[in-house]
Amino acid sequence: MDKTDSELLETIADLHGIPEGSFNIRKNGKLMARNSTADIEIVPKKDKDGIDIIVKPGVVNKSVHIPVLLTVGDFKETVYNDFYIGEGADVTIIAGCGIHNDACGDAEHDGVHSFYLEKNAKVRYIERHYASGDGTGKKSFDPVTNIYCKENACFAMESTQLGGVTSTVRKTFASLDDKAQLIVKEKILTDNDECAVTDFRVELKGAHSRADIVSRSVAKGHSVQSFGSDLVGENECFGHVECDGILLGGARIISTPKIDAVSPEASLVHEAAVGKIAGEQLMKLMSLGLTEQEAEDAVIKGFLN
């Protein structure tokens, strides 16, 4: 593991070196390190690139790290990871990906992650995407996340992309049975000519299922972001989507909501607000002695906290 590797690991997964417990570290398409435990088993797939992560029923307070590093240009991979979360388990999954591309060829990582949560299972899923490097090559992520929650299961997802990623198209699909819950907190910052597209489709199938999706985004330079959500309420359920965006420079944010109350008992809400930083916020901070630029940075830092 060299300096770039450990810096990327720290940024995307708060890791200082090799973690404890179950983990799978992948670098430039190859396995770098893996540890499988009795509670959380990691099995490589035979038919395609990727792993199966099997969490035994009732396993609680355990975590698994599956970071991915990409430090070369001219490299594109698609990885299929399937997560089977046993009944009543309660785990944290940290799945960041860091690209460092100093080359002129493109680097792209596409992770297709599917989560199968049994009854009463709980997952906290942390996904950080980060890219660095001065090469002209693109740094891209096109993740697909599929979430299937059985009765009373709960999936909480925190996804963060704070800079350097040339282009990303993220698709998230969730299907929720009775009393199942999906909580999403998404934070995206784009600059220059970067482009970020996120799409959510959530099917609230079960009675008393809930979905709460909050997206906070900051678009700088000439970057473009597009946020789409599609909530389908097929039962007595509650769904809430919030898209909050700050625009700077010549950036653009497009928010497209769709809510479909198939069942008359469904209650679905969509909120969206996009605009520049409020003048009075800058004024207040400048009256504390900050310059306009410092005030802007403070507002953004707080917003994406």
């Binding site: 906070r216 909050d244 400048m286 009256s287 504390l288 002695g289 707080g302």
Partner: protein, 240 residues
């Protein structure tokens, strides 16, 4: 000494194109030490004056002097660094910025819990319950006003501009608030207020009316100034 010389401020109504004069040829001086309370009917231009002094707006005519230096063209950041400190009539809300980080931005340095406790307990808030809260709509109106004042205390300065600091503060906390002002008496303090209890603490009172400002100092009969009903007040409008 803070001096305002021949200050006028007018705004243009975008829809009608008419100019409205809010402040007209105002001459005011505030001493280096002491509490000045500005009072007057709603809409008489008190907050406008505060904003002019802080540099949020530029006067359409006239100059502002601080310790003899013309600061009329100085921006907000520079004035803040020179010791101008403001507490807004309507505190600004932020998404995600915590009380802790605002206090640190105000004081210009990292603060430990003791230091934050000092600023917050002065305004009757317990640091433990507030430092990690976001300064947004989840705080009550009175809590926001108290935090606004705590920020001014954390920042410190030479000239304090406090726009209706008592608004929204409960009755039982008034005396504590007066104590906060008292501690600033060796600075230039300009408070906009409608409250008798605050007026009583003043070394000098300024009464804003539609077209003029009158003042009275401690020792003079300050309250005689106020018993006269100023023009522009609510009762006049209703009676017209």
């Amino acid at each position: 000494m803070l001096e305002l010389k021949n200050i006028s401020y007018s705004v243009k109504d975008e829809t009608t194109g008419r100019t409205q004069e809010i402040l007209k040829d105002l001459n005011l001086a505030f001493a280096d030490r002491g509490i000045n309370v500005i009072t007057g009917p709603n809409g008489s231009g008190k907050s406008t004056l505060i904003k002019l002094v802080m540099g949020f707006e530029k006067p359409t005519a006239g100059r502002v002097f601080f310790n003899g230096e013309d600061i009329t063209d100085m921006n907000v950041t520079e004035r803040a660094r020179r010791g101008f400190t403001i507490a807004f009539q309507q505190p600004v809300r932020f998404k995600g910025i915590t009380v802790k980080s605002l206090l640190e931005l105000a004081s210009g340095k990292k603060m430990d819990t003791d230091a934050m406790c000092g600023c917050l307990s002065a305004v009757g808030l317990c640091a433990r319950n507030y430092i990690d809260r976001a300064v947004d709509g989840t705080l009550s109106g009175g809590e926001l006003k108290r935090i606004e004042l705590a920020m001014a205390i954390a920042k410190g300065g030479e000239v304090f501009l406090l726009d209706e600091p008592e608004a929204g503060i409960d009755l039982w906390s008034f005396e504590d608030l007066v104590r906060v002002f008292d501690r600033l008496r060796d600075k230039t303090v300009i408070i906009v207020s409608h409250q008798q209890r605050i007026l009583e603490t003043a070394d000098k009172i300024f009464l804003f009316e539609s077209d003029k400002v009158s003042s009275a100092e401690r020792g003079e009969d300050m309250f005689a100034l106020l018993t006269r009903r100023p023009a522009l007040c609510w009762r006049d409008v209703k009676e017209n």
